[in-house]
Symmetry: none
Subunit: 213 residues, 4 copies
């Protein structure tokens, strides 16, 4: 999880200290944005948290939104790895989906703060930078949709399943964990992941309509 400074930031000289501060900044900002929301967090609070004066923040950041963008970039940066590890040509696409979902669940739980900020405060990302982030988010679902398609083709999922809807349902079931998962619960995270992914994958493979009217 390398912390990336915004590409256009001001000149950097002494790396060590500077990078440290930047990471600290990101950390505290994440905590604050998560707790109070982006709009309701003031730069004053951020600067208090890192022990700088308000004005000094602008040596590290060009704007409050910079912080938000950095946090969200960080989030999806890691996520991309997970997506790239998927084997679309697996002989058992359903199980491949299971593995993919498990990783997403663990990832969502471990990045609950960032994810929460993403879901709530994405709209405060400057319009020009929204597309990049949205594309990454869509990537998660599209990968799920593709795997579902393969599994249908392979006969592992009934054709009655609508991949567009199912992929969304599955992703919603997976990412919702950021709202309720707390570290140190009774179940190990890996087991929680199996419960969720197992349920969703089973649902896909066994789906049948129960419509009455």
């Amino acid at each position: 999880m390398k912390a990336l400074r915004p590409e256009t930031s001001r000149p950097v000289r002494s790396k060590a200290k500077s990078v440290e501060r930047w990471n600290q900044l990101l950390l505290e900002a994440t905590r604050l944005f998560r707790d109070r929301g982006f709009a309701a967090t003031s730069m004053q609070e951020v600067s208090d948290a890192v022990g700088l004066l308000k004005g000094s923040l602008y040596y590290y950041v060009r704007s409050k939104e910079d912080l938000l963008v950095a946090i969200l970039h960080d989030l999806h940066h890691r996520g991309e790895e997970i997506v790239s590890e998927v084997d679309l040509d697996s002989a058992d696409p359903l199980h491949e989906l299971y593995r993919y979902l498990c990783k997403l669940i663990v990832y969502a739980a471990e990045n609950a703060d960032r994810l929460s900020i993403f879901f709530r405060d994405f709209r405060f990302v400057p319009k020009g930078q929204q597309a990049t982030i949205i594309r990454k988010r869509d990537m998660y679902r599209e990968m799920a949709e593709q795997l579902i398609g393969r599994a249908i083709a392979a006969g592992q999922i009934p054709e009655a399943v609508n991949p567009a809807i199912a992929s969304r349902t599955v992703l919603d079931g997976v990412s919702g964990i950021h709202e309720w998962y707390r570290k140190g619960g009774s179940l190990p995270l890996a087991q929680v992941a199996d419960q969720i992914a197992g349920l969703l994958v089973a649902g896909l493979s066994q789906y049948q309509s129960r419509r009455e009217n």
Copy 2:
């Protein structure tokens, strides 16, 4: 879903015209809060939307938060009905769950705006009024957990399923629709609901662990 004025609001005998304005206010505020977020929506924008001066809003509302609370009360008011219609003693608890989920899905889709506000901006509800609303939200999940418990007891769901986690997964899969459903899509809402609820219910009944390590 009659829009209820907060009890604390001034005028008691609200004449026709007044009620109209109040509903209009709620409508526009909902739209704006949904689009821009509560914190980033100004009373100026709300008043512009209803054709009043900023200050005039306070004839109807005692604070910006009042608007938020009114919107969220409205939301859960309707939801309570759905919960109360559930037959906990049904001979087929799994199917009862399916029906419950379907209603929730339709409800979530039809109230996507309010739900979105709830998920994003609940934190701006004054502390003193948060509990009431939270309790209502918990109700949805607890009902699902109870039905899952009954279904396990009835042998419709394997005992390996953890009701606490499963109920959360199910609720997340259901409520997530507020993020992506748009009226007038290719599928009728009832069919979308069946896709989601069918998948989740099948997943519950057919869950099996795929854990590898």
Copy 3:
């Protein structure tokens, strides 16, 4: 203490009820202005106190300042009587001063609310109407100054006494009672008045400089 409506008020028809309301208005306004100050009292509070809606006040009053002016007029109206009862040609001007002061003290105690408003909020009286009220206030002191002058001429007060200063001191000592006197104290008001007036009159007649440098 006849309550006078401002001369230019709107047409009056049914006298009884109207006058009643007006008196009630003055009473409540006096209480509120005294307790919260003129500037910090809202017409809303006044209307609440008399059981009318805010807008309805303007049937009785042309402006908030009208209320203030009416209260202060009332105050000095009564006071004028006291001044006019003084016998400037008394053979014992010092004792005449004592009697005058006693009446003022009783009056100040009984009108503590109005007096308090006068001292604190006179500045909110519209500029055009300030002169009239100021003139009345000056009247009290000028009468004291005149009596002191007579007493000096009669040899009852040493010539070293400066009437301008002494009259102010005496008036300050007298009117200060509005700040601390509470009905139902241990001493009857008449006795309190004697204590104050007795002290001041004795001081006038026995003054002697103690200046050291």
Copy 4:
């Protein structure tokens, strides 16, 4: 009389320039509050007076009330010295009282602005901070009451004098000067002080009831 920043104010190491501004702020605010009253003075007016933008005031102050409190603290800060200089065990308590009153008079005249604000606008001090200030004010009178008690015991004041009332009368006579004293009058302040204090002290020592009924 160094102007003390409220402890709660942000910056800790106030550089020269900052202190200057703060003093200027206090000065102008005092003038404005005195002239227009606290409630009727806007922060806009204050900021205009010191040449800042309205919002910039809040770099120095946390609220309008902060300014008021600072002004009143300053006032009584100096006053405490005067009280502490009194020799309660003086062999001539009456004369000690005279000296005490003289100092108070000079002090009241020199701080007429602040005193005026105190008398008129004390009620706008936040409830939590009122007690501290009230206690200081009471101190002035209580000291007078004690000295009167000593003088009675020493036979310098007749026993008929009620110390509670007399001390109030004396204080009222003394502090009233803030309303009418203007610098550069015909009499030097020291002489004015002697006139007032001399009168009051003579009154105490020579008081006799003149009650008729």
